[in-house]
Symmetry: C2
Subunit: 356 residues, 2 copies
């Protein structure tokens, strides 16, 4: 048995119950692959503001850095909307990404056949969609120089710098190309090179980087066109790679095409510890009621096994178990329709556990 | 009879035939409202590159400035993809916006009931959608300081500045609020205030501006959430106001929800001459074949009558005529399905003209 250290950050709202569910599945799947997990809980987001007066305590950062992987629930909620800007819950997310050097956000967009009716798109448009969206997560306008509102020459103005360096682009495009090699080998790089200087650098660096992968086909799309194509013909995409800001918008757009964001996982990777979390929010209105869908977090745990613990078989076992439970017609409240069997957070977790 | 000067810029590809169609409708509708049009043709885009070696000749700019309104087809095409960056066809668009001070891009997103089946969304999700997207068009990252790729401290980097001033935000939010007063009085301002300093200024200025309209209700959405909501529940939106870059992405996303971008018009307004154009591209592959759908350009002509010539009745007459021809089942090739009557660019134009 090898031993691995996992930091769990439940966060706020439904974070507690969905991470509890995922940890249970994670432990079982890891155990079967000969990995014993040592799990440590840490605070971030609103829970940390309440306990320490700041959203990302140093103890959480230190523990995260030493861990083999981090599993996060969701942070924030209306309770903390009024806090000072410097301690807002988002700061926990942005802080973790920067402290851990998490430069790549991986968002698989897949539609379970059993849930196809939940998509706002017509079934024939969405059936079979399987996209991996790779978002640059440590650069661009998120971290470029900011000037908060100030009067300059008599006019109040504010600004943010969108900035990319060639090595930053190479790093993320390399990752996207490697991911594509394990898939359908098509990478679409998204930019706004007809307007932005940073996008022109992005496009050139992406081109040069991808040319080193003779089996990968790279093409380019402007971000406005990509926003259209995702709706018109989502099946055309295999891997999409883009910058931090465009990735924020396009990954959420792509996610809702599936109709069930409660199902979608994500991984944020860097050179050290990886962070795994569902893409949905903390949903404080349903917290503690057994209504939350833990599948996004459970599938994030599968990504954790795959990318941080190298346990591919365990990852696939979880993904298969989830599929089977859905095919059997079990649904949490968010996905319930007459004809299926409504189950609680805990019940669906036990059903998935039994399938493992 | 009053007399008005219209500059027509056919542009490239199908630009010629769709502007010809729209001018014919425009003249007829204007005439019935007692307005005589003096129409002048000018070049821009690829056609201007071929004729003068640059995409926006000074003669076009000068004529545009003196005109009462501009009707544009579409510019660009693969033929000019290889030209030097400084003379690319986009420069014609960006140049006209700046030279004419066109700070507001109005994009109505409406779904003709007769065409609902063309939407990639399920009919119940899209039926009745009626959005006016107002995009700031003269500021932000499009025109902020640019640094093309250069080596700084040994690393190649490039950057663009996203910058907004309070008066720029006030101007566009005032316009959005006034538009909302003529509609359902709901304005959603879209930003990324949890990350960007320029968005925090935007949000504050939007709030202050909208508070002067006691009958208008303003709310705020983050751009990633808006990209989701447009797909999940497009009916919730009345007027959306946002910055140049977010507007570029969201307006195209919203447009494809309707399933027929050949139908959608746009207006770009400033303090002087307004510019009107369909939202689709120049489609060089079908140019000159009578296959192009002129309706987006014809509806742009209706907007021209409304906003630049103050001829509301003429504008509504065109919109009604278009609706009737669609209800009667006439369709250009892009919207043809068995059961409807396929007609050419010219045929649909005469049908609309007859309805007037
Ligand atoms: C909370 C916010 C700062 C964050 C982002 O913009 O990156 C979120 O939208 C996300 O996508 O994880
Ligand atoms: C051609 C391009 C510069 C332009 C833009 O980005 O504004 C286009 O996408 C548009 O929306 O009109």
């Amino acid at each position: 048995m090898s031993e691995k250290r996992i930091v769990v950050i439940p966060g706020d709202g439904i974070g507690e119950e969905i991470t509890a569910a995922a940890v249970c599945i994670l432990k079982k799947a890891a155990g079967k692959s000969g990995i014993q997990l040592q799990v440590e809980r840490h605070l971030a987001g609103g829970a940390a503001i309440d306990a320490y007066g700041l959203p990302l305590p140093d103890s959480t950062i230190q523990a995260a850095k030493k861990a083999d992987a981090i599993l996060l629930g969701a942070v924030g909620g209306p309770k903390w909307d009024g806090v000072a800007p410097e301690i807002r819950a988002e700061k926990a997310i942005l802080g973790l990404r920067k402290e851990l050097g998490l430069y790549a956000n991986l968002r698989p967009i897949r539609v379970a056949e059993a849930l196809i009716e939940f998509s706002p798109l017509k079934a024939e448009a969405i059936s079979g969609v399987d996209i991996l969206l790779v978002r640059e997560l440590n650069g661009g306008i998120y971290y470029g120089a900011k000037n908060e509102a100030a009067v300059v020459n008599g006019v109040e103005q504010a600004s943010d710098l969108e900035i990319y360096s060639t090595p930053e682009v190479q790093r993320i495009v390399n990752l996207a190309c490697k991911a594509a090699q394990l898939r359908r080998k098509q990478v679409v790089s998204v930019d706004k090179a007809n307007v932005l200087a940073s996008s022109r650098l992005w496009r050139k660096a992406a081109q040069e980087t991808a040319s080193q992968y003779s089996d990968v086909n790279l093409s380019h799309l402007y971000v406005d066109n990509c926003a259209m194509q995702l709706i018109l013909a989502p099946k055309q995409f295999d891997v999409i790679v883009t910058n931090n800001l465009f990735g924020d918008i396009l990954s959420d757009e792509a996610a809702v095409l599936t109709g069930s964001i409660g199902m979608l996982p994500s991984a944020s990777l860097g050179d050290g510890t990886g962070l795994y979390e569902p893409i949905h929010g903390s949903a404080p209105d349903i917290a503690g009621k057994g209504l939350a869908n833990p599948v996004g977090t459970i599938l994030s745990a599968a990504m954790l096994l795959r990318y941080s613990l190298g346990a591919e078989a365990a990852a696939e076992a979880i993904e298969k178990a989830v599929d089977q439970v859905l095919v059997q017609g079990y649904r949490t409240a968010d996905l319930y329709k007459p004809g299926s069997t409504k189950v609680s957070t805990e019940e669906i977790t036990s059903l998935i556990e039994k399938q493992l």
